[in-house]
């Protein structure tokens, strides 16, 4: 195992080098602007501070990107994640709001349970369209992307459903062992997925299907089931992300919950080194991608970038990271580094 680990590790380190540098630069800029940014303080036994904020804030995107990574590895794409987040929040919160006792843990759990069920159904639906009917993923998931928010609004009656429920609030703003619960949840699923994909054969089968679906099918891989599974997983993770997002503001905002998050998630996945053409994926890469994007968003506020220039700022950072990460530039940089080394000796014929 160790040889795989080290060789894969070396490649990963290389590929993720620039994203990590970007992360460091952004953090540095934030520290320069606000000196206390990186300080972590303990208050009421909880950790506070910029890094903790970033980690907590990353949880939503990490969950969504986690599912997205798997979908992308099979050559797919899931545009419906934002809508699924909205539905998750809508189902859970309207059920809590309608109950007599929003503070009761049982109520919250049953609300979460039914929301998960609904979201899984959506995953099944997406997977069915892609794997069985054979509709192109982007269009198949566009259906829920469009209709999903409608469904969420139908559930909330077009209003923003607000509730007060301490157990539900814990999901996003609670702390456990001094750490934010949201980050723990995302971390748990991240680690679980990393283990499941690499300790079982799921990861390699997903990659196989993504690289060459025809060959995989002929090799006896249940391509259809695998594709179906990743869409279900993706919806599930989006659902959890939806809980965190709605718990964060204690309101189900059917219109805005997770709006455009699919783009951020895809961006994170790609910055993390997974190709949109499917195949080899890296969950660690996705984690780095998520941190870069969350920090980028966060730094906009810290650095006080004018609202009108936010887009431009994001574009420049993304372009820079991608350019530096690109094979051509990497090659050039390596060549320059090598130029100082002795030239390869000509081998006589």
């Amino acid at each position: 195992m160790s040889s795989v680990m080290t060789s894969a590790g070396a490649v990963a380190r290389h590929r993720l080098f620039w994203p990590i540098v970007a992360l460091a630069v952004l953090l540095l800029a934030c520290v320069l602007k606000s000196n206390t940014f990186l300080d972590i303080t303990v208050r009421d036994g909880h950790l506070y501070g910029g890094p903790i904020d970033i980690v907590r804030r990353s949880s939503v995107l990490l969950l969504v990107a986690l599912g997205m990574t798997l979908v992308i590895a099979t050559r797919g794409i899931d545009l419906s994640v934002g809508a699924v987040m909205a539905i998750a929040g809508a189902v859970a919160l309207s059920q809590i709001a309608a109950s007599d006792n929003p503070e009761s843990l049982a109520v919250v759990l049953s609300a979460i349970g039914s929301a998960v069920l609904v979201c899984l159904l959506i995953g099944v639906f997406n997977g069915f369209l892609v794997a069985v009917v054979g509709i192109q993923p982007i269009i198949a998931t566009l259906v829920i992307m469009t209709a999903g928010r409608g469904i969420a609004m139908l559930i909330t009656g077009g209003q923003i459903t607000t509730v007060n429920s301490a157990p539900y609030k814990t999901i996003a703003t609670g702390y456990w062992l001094g750490l934010p619960v949201a980050a723990l949840i995302a971390g748990f699923f991240f680690v679980a997925m990393a283990l499941i994909t690499r300790r079982t054969a799921l990861g390699v089968l997903i990659e196989s299907v993504g690289i060459n679906p025809v060959a995989s099918r002929l090799a006896g891989v249940r391509a259809r089931t695998i594709i179906w599974t990743v869409y279900i997983l993706c919806a599930f993770f989006a659902c959890i992300a939806g809980f965190i997002r709605s718990s964060d503001i204690m309101a189900a905002d059917a219109n805005n919950a997770g709006l455009f998050i699919e783009l951020d998630a895809i961006l994170a996945v790609v910055i993390g080194g997974t190709s949109l053409a499917g195949g080899k994926f890296s969950l660690v890469g996705t984690l780095v991608g998520v941190l870069v994007i969350t920090t980028l968003t966060f730094s906009v506020t810290i650095l006080g970038i004018p609202a009108n220039a936010v887009s431009l700022f994001k574009a420049l950072v993304v372009i820079l990271v991608c350019l530096l990460q690109s094979p051509v530039v990497r090659h050039k940089l390596r060549a320059r580094r090598r130029a100082t080394a002795p030239a390869p000796v000509e081998v006589p014929a």
Binding site: V133, Q136, L142, T146, L276, S311, L312, K314, S326, V329
Partner: protein
């Protein structure tokens, strides 16, 4: 060609008539099936709409579908080139906004139409070129390169035109007002004509030029195309330039359509364009599809909007659900038709 003059030294054993030829029960080429599916479902949609709503099949309504979507037609045409090579262009919506904003800014600063119009289209071309270089030279995935271009163009919008700017330029106003056609509303606007011309040019380019065939070849397999000695590099850059230019032109048409420039126009328009292309039977993996299919795709989306308006009783959320459902019915039907015929 050299080999033509070769005389075989050995008479072939037996000409194999059946060799490699497939038994065909249907005479429709497989490649046309998705488009055919789109046509059939489109006709069904028209029939149902016509039977449900008064005035639905009137010339005016049908003409409106084209007029209202002429900018989308142009964008979808550009998008078709990109998707045929297996790429994607997410920047078009933002480029539409940017060229609209630039147009509005230029007109409000006293530039004439003769200067402004080419420059506005050029804005799209330049962004397309930037994307093309990112995709080809730096091998950045199209999705990301164009996403970055989308942020970039949107960001520039806020700088050029933080608020919406009306356009009062006489040329634009005239272009917006002109209608050719019959009294009963079956009319066409200059924008519509431009859109149709773009479609025609694209059709010829894709099917009757080497460049066009290279586009398809790259979609079929970039590596193969390279080994076949085709100009892959140039073609790949060029498709993004074309898409950017189309988006620039689309922005101009949108500016004519709305007679204003606004930083927030075209949010999500790239998805509409992609949806139109895919609904029109083009495969996102590249290599297969037709520009006419994309036009049909735009018409489908336009028709869905029209049905929503004619329905008139849908709440906001039912509107979304209804659009989703129509889309679903559409793609599933189309898919089933294709499978059947196969």
């Amino acid at each position: 060609m050299a080999t033509d003059q070769l005389t075989p030294s050995k008479v072939p054993t037996a000409p194999r008539q059946s060799l490699g030829t497939r038994v065909r029960r249907f005479h429709v080429d497989e490649r046309y099936l998705p488009v055919l599916g789109t046509v059939i479902v489109l006709i069904a949609m028209l029939a149902i709409g016509g039977s449900l709503y008064e005035n639905f099949l009137s010339g005016r309504v049908m003409a409106n579908v084209l007029i209202n979507n002429s900018f989308l037609v142009v964008i979808a045409v550009g998008m078709t080139f990109v998707i045929l090579t297996g790429g994607i262009d997410l920047s078009v919506g933002a480029v539409v906004a940017l060229s609209g904003c630039v147009a509005a800014w230029m007109f409000s600063h006293g530039f004439g139409a003769a200067v402004a119009i080419p420059l506005v289209i050029l804005v799209g071309t330049v962004i397309g070129l930037v994307v093309g270089v990112m995709v080809h030279v730096f091998e950045i995935q199209p999705f990301i390169a164009t996403l970055a271009a989308m942020f970039l163009a949107r960001g520039l919008c806020y700088i050029v035109a933080p608020e919406s700017i009306p356009i009062t330029d006489p040329t634009i106003v005239a272009l917006a007002r002109t209608r050719w056609g019959t009294e009963d509303g079956l009319v066409i606007t200059p924008s519509g004509v431009i859109a149709l011309a773009v479609v025609a040019i694209a059709f010829v380019t894709l099917h009757y030029t080497r460049f066009g065939r290279t586009v398809y070849a790259i979609g079929g397999g970039e590596q193969s195309a390279k080994l076949m000695g085709l100009p892959v590099a140039r073609t790949k850059v060029l498709v993004y330039v074309i898409s950017g230019t189309c988006a620039g032109l689309g922005g101009l048409l949108f500016a004519i359509f709305s007679r204003s420039g606004y930083a927030l126009t075209g949010v999500g328009m790239e998805l509409d364009a992609i949806a139109a292309v895919v609904i029109g039977g083009t495969l996102l993996t590249g290599g297969s599809g037709f520009v006419l299919g994309s036009v049909l795709g735009v018409l489908v989306l336009g028709l869905i909007q029209t049905i929503i308006t004619f329905q008139g009783t849908l709440s906001s959320w039912w509107t979304k659900i209804f659009i989703g459902a129509l889309l679903l019915i559409f793609v599933v039907l189309q898919r089933l038709l294709v499978i059947r015929r196969r």
